[in-house]
Symmetry: D2
Subunit: 309 residues, 4 copies
Amino acid sequence: MAIVLGANQYGKAEVRLVRVRRDGPRHELRDLTVSVALAGDLAEVHSSGDNAHVLPTDSQKNTVYAFAREHGVGQVEEFGLLLARHFVRTVPAITRARVTLTEHGWQRLGPHSFQRDGTESRVATVTVDAAGGVDADGDGTGSSVESGLTGLVLLNSTDSEFRGYLKDQYTTLPETDDRILATAVEAYWRHGEVEPAGGGKYWAESYAGVRAALVGAFVDTYSRSLQQTLYAMGHRVLVERPEITQVRLALPNRHHLLVDLSPFGLDNPGEVFVATDRPYGLIEGTVTREPDVAGTAPDDDGATTGGIG
Amino acid sequence: MAIVLGANQYGKAEVRLVRVRRDGPRHELRDLTVSVALAGDLAEVHSSGDNAHVLPTDSQKNTVYAFAREHGVGQVEEFGLLLARHFVRTVPAITRARVTLTEHGWQRLGPHSFQRDGTESRVATVTVDAAGGVDADGDGTGSSVESGLTGLVLLNSTDSEFRGYLKDQYTTLPETDDRILATAVEAYWRHGEVEPAGGGKYWAESYAGVRAALVGAFVDTYSRSLQQTLYAMGHRVLVERPEITQVRLALPNRHHLLVDLSPFGLDNPGEVFVATDRPYGLIEGTVTREPDVAGTAPDDDGATTGGIG
Amino acid sequence: MAIVLGANQYGKAEVRLVRVRRDGPRHELRDLTVSVALAGDLAEVHSSGDNAHVLPTDSQKNTVYAFAREHGVGQVEEFGLLLARHFVRTVPAITRARVTLTEHGWQRLGPHSFQRDGTESRVATVTVDAAGGVDADGDGTGSSVESGLTGLVLLNSTDSEFRGYLKDQYTTLPETDDRILATAVEAYWRHGEVEPAGGGKYWAESYAGVRAALVGAFVDTYSRSLQQTLYAMGHRVLVERPEITQVRLALPNRHHLLVDLSPFGLDNPGEVFVATDRPYGLIEGTVTREPDVAGTAPDDDGATTGGIG
Amino acid sequence: MAIVLGANQYGKAEVRLVRVRRDGPRHELRDLTVSVALAGDLAEVHSSGDNAHVLPTDSQKNTVYAFAREHGVGQVEEFGLLLARHFVRTVPAITRARVTLTEHGWQRLGPHSFQRDGTESRVATVTVDAAGGVDADGDGTGSSVESGLTGLVLLNSTDSEFRGYLKDQYTTLPETDDRILATAVEAYWRHGEVEPAGGGKYWAESYAGVRAALVGAFVDTYSRSLQQTLYAMGHRVLVERPEITQVRLALPNRHHLLVDLSPFGLDNPGEVFVATDRPYGLIEGTVTREPDVAGTAPDDDGATTGGIG
C-alpha cells in the first residue's frame, strides 16, 4: 500500500495586533489575536521540501499588520473575510484559507486611556474556499463565518436543581433541589448570510444581540440540568435573532460543592461552598433551525422563572 | 559546625471559598482564595517527625469554611484578621500566622445571577504575631495588614514618551515621543491603623479610594518613563488617602512595538502595534511617608496632562 | 422554521487518577487524566430538564476509580475501551461513548519512589458506538482507537534551511540555509485493528515503536521546511509500523531568531538566538495509507542526512 | 509629612536566550531565561521623568545577547556574575544589580538534536552591590549567589505516614500510617565562596551534588510529616556538600487522596488515589549551619529507611 499525504494546512498562529485609531483626541483601541491557516496544492513541500508554493507564515503575519493599516480593522468577521479572501485570491496554490480572530475587550477610562476587560473574548472563524476567492457577485458563495465568544463566566446562586437522574451501581451523588450553577460559556454561531446588508453595523449588532440572548437565557432559566440551560440559551438566540441559523455551546460545569459543616456543629443552608477545579462536567450541544419539522421547544411551566421565549 | 533549622512556616494554600448570603431574594456573592501560613515552635516536627505541635493544614482549611459560616465573610482584611488571630490564640505552638486572601470579583446580573469580573483581584495579607494573639485592648498591636490589588491592566495610547536616557555601547533603542504605555498593576499598601474606626466600612471605602487614585494617576500622568508613572500613582494615593502610609507597586511594561510597514509602502503614525509577551520591562518601587523630611513631589509642569495632586 | 437540538454530548472531564500496584516491595505507578463524553437519546433533558436518561457525570467519575480497582489500569487504549464499552452497554440511552486518556510519565528512582517525567504525555481517544456495545465476537466492530502523544519538544540546531519559497508583496523574510528547527510534537495515529493479538503488550510495543519512529525521523531529516519534516515523521511511522494506518501531526514552529549583534561589533554565526513565544508557525498534516495508488515517498537525495525509510 | 520614594528597582524580565556552541559537529545547547533588576540613584526618573540615569531595559536585553556571544554562557552562576558586575561597573547610577537565571534542560538525541527535559529547571540569583563592582582582589566581596532548582516533582508511594498531630475543634482528618507523599521541589542554596577555586567546574559539580542529595534524602526518608522530609533534604545537603552554607526549601504537598470505594463493594488498600490541585499544603523551611551551637540532627531510628547522614 502506498503512503500518501492526507489533509493538511499551515499558517501563522497567534499574531498579536493592537490597532489605535487616532482621528481625533478620542482614540479607538482594538486588540486582536489572529491566526491564519492555508490549504491547497501543498504536496511538493511535504514530499521534497520544495517551497515554491509556500507563502511564508512570516508573510502572512506581515499581511495582518499591513491590512490593519491599509483597511483598518472592522468587525472581526469583516477583517477575517478580508484576510481570508486575500490569501485565496493571491496565493496561487491556496484553495482554502481559514482565519481565526480573538478580540480582547477594553473599557474606556478616558480619551486615550483604557482598562482591559476581563477574560471574555469575542471570536470569529472565517473560511474561504476557491469559489470564495472568485466570488464575482459578492454574494458570499464559498465563504463561511462562525461568530462566537469564550470566557464568559456566569453563575446562578439558586434556581438550579439536579434530580431524577439515572442511578447505576456507581452512583453516590445525592439529589439536590438547590445548588449553585456556574459555567464559562463557549458559544459559536452561524449566520444566514455571509454578506449581510449593513456590513459592520450588522456584525456588531448581531454580536450584541446574541450575547444578550445567551446571558438572558442563563439568568432567566430555572435549571433542572445544565443541558436544559444550554438548550434554553441556544433556543433563545434562534428565537430572538432571526439572522442566526445555528448555535454551538460548550458549557463546563464549574462545580461548587456545599461544605459539610456538621462536624463543627454548624448547618450550611446553601451558604458556604468550595469551588473545585477538576474534574468538571462538560456539556456540549448544538441548537439549530430545521425547515419543515415540528419544533422541540423547551417545556414552559411554572418552574421556569423567566420562560424561554 | 552544627546544622540547624532556620526560618520556617507551613499551612494550607489556595483554599477556594464561595460564600452566598441569602437573607432575601437578592443574594450576595463572595469568592475568595485563602492561604494560611503558621510559624512558631516547630523544631520537633522537622527534626523527628513528631507532629504534636502541628495543626493539620486540613484543619486550617476547615477553619476557613467554618468561619465563613459562623462569622460571615467581611472585607478581606477583616476576615484575614479573624482567621490569623484565631490560629495564634488557639494553637499553642504558633507565634505567627499569616493569611493571604484574594477576592475574585463578580458583577451582578440579577437577584441571584452574576458574571465573573475579569482578571483583576483584590488582595490582602494579614500577619498576626504573639502580641496580636493577646491584644487585650484591641488596638491592633501585633497585627499588620497589607491591602492590594493585582491584574488591573491599563493602557494609554498616547501621552507617553521615552527619551533622554543613558546610552551605552549596547543601546540601540530609538527615542520616542509617542508610544503606547500598558501595564498590569500590582499594588500593595499599608494602613495607619489596623483597627480603624468604621471597621468593614473603612476597609471597603479605603480600597475603593486607593484604587481610584491609582487609576486616576495612570490616566492623568503624561509619562516620560514608567518609573514616573509609578511614582505618580503611589504619590496620588498618599495625597488623597491620609489613612495610607505606604504603597508598593510592581508595573510590568507590556511593550507594544510600532510595526515597520515601510517595506509595504505604508506609513505607521502610531496606529499598528504588535503586543509582545516576553521580555518585558519590570518597574518596582515603593512610595512612602517620611516624617520631618522635605517632600519629593513629582515635578508639575506643562507636560503633565492632569497633574499629580 | 422549527428550532431543534443538534449534535450533543456530555460527561466528566479531567478525572485525575493515580493507581499504585503494590504486589511486592517494587511498586508500579500509573498517573492518568481521564475524560468521558456520552451521546445518545438525550433530547428530553435538553428540552425539559427531565434527567431520567442522564447518568450523572459524578457517577462516570466514580466508574473510572472503581474500574481502576476492579480491572487495574492496563495500557491507556485498553482502559479506555473498557470504560467506553461499559457506558454504551449499561446506560440505556447512550449510543456512543468517547473516553480520552492522558498518561503522565514518571521515572523510577527506587522501589516506591518516582520522579515526574517532563511535559510529554501519552494519550488515547477511544470511541465506542452502539455496535461496539454489543460486539459479540469481540472483533472490535463499533470501536475505534486513536493513540497519540503531546508535549514532546524537539530541536535540531542545524540541518534545517528555508529557501525558495513564494514571495509576495508582504514578504520580508530573508532566506536561510541554516536555522534552528524546534517544535512541540502533537501526534495521533490509528491502528489497523482495535482488538489486536497481544492486547496490552501490543499497545505498549506499538506506542514505543511509533514514538521512536517520530523522534528518529525528526533527528535524521535534513529539513527544507517543517512540512517536509512532518511528512518524513508520518512516513517513517507507516514504513516502520505496519500496524498503523494513519498519522495526524500538528507541529508548531517554535521560532528561534538569530540575534543581530552587528550593532555591537559582533558576528553571530548561528550561535545566539532569541526563542519567541508568539506568533508561531503551525504546520498540520495527515499521512495515510492508500491502497492501489503509486506512493508519494519523500525525495531521497544527498541533502537528507539519514534518509526517510 | 513628606511623601518620598522608597526601595525601588527596574530591569528587563524574561529575556529568552538560546546559545549554540558549534565548535565541531557535536553542538552544545544552552537555553536560559534571564531577568535583570537594577537599583541605585534613581530618584530623578521617579519624581520628574528625567531618564538621564536610566539605562533602557532594552539595552539590558541586548547586553545579555552580546555577552552570550562575547563570553559564552558558562554555568548560570558565572554568567549571572558577569552580567551583574557589568551593570554595576558601567552604569554610573547603579549600585546594585540582581540577575536571575533559569536554565531549561535538554537531553541529547544526536550531534545536533535535542529533546526538552521536562519541567525541572536549574536557577540562580546573583546580586552584586557597589563593592562587588570594584572588587579589586576578586575575592567575591559585594557579590552573592543563590543557586537552586524548581519543578522537580517527586513521589513516594509508601513509607509516609501522618499521625499524632494536634487536634482542635476543626480537625476531621483521620490519621494514616501509609499515604502517598508527593511534592514539587523548590530549593535554593548558598555557597561559602562566591569565587570558588575551580570556577565553572565547581558550579557544575556543586549543582549535581546538591541535587543528588535532595533527591536521595527524599527517596530514603521514612516520612512522618513533610516537614521532616524537608529537614532531611536540607540536612543531607549540608552534610554531603561542605561548600553549601544554607538551603531554603518550599515543598507543596500535592495531596493524593485515597478514594473511598466501599459504596461499590470494593476495598482500596492504598491503590487508587485522586490527585488534587487545590488546596495544597505548603511547607517552607531553611536549614543552615550555625557555628558553635549543638546540632539539631534529625532523629535516627529504625523507622528511617535510609538514614539522614
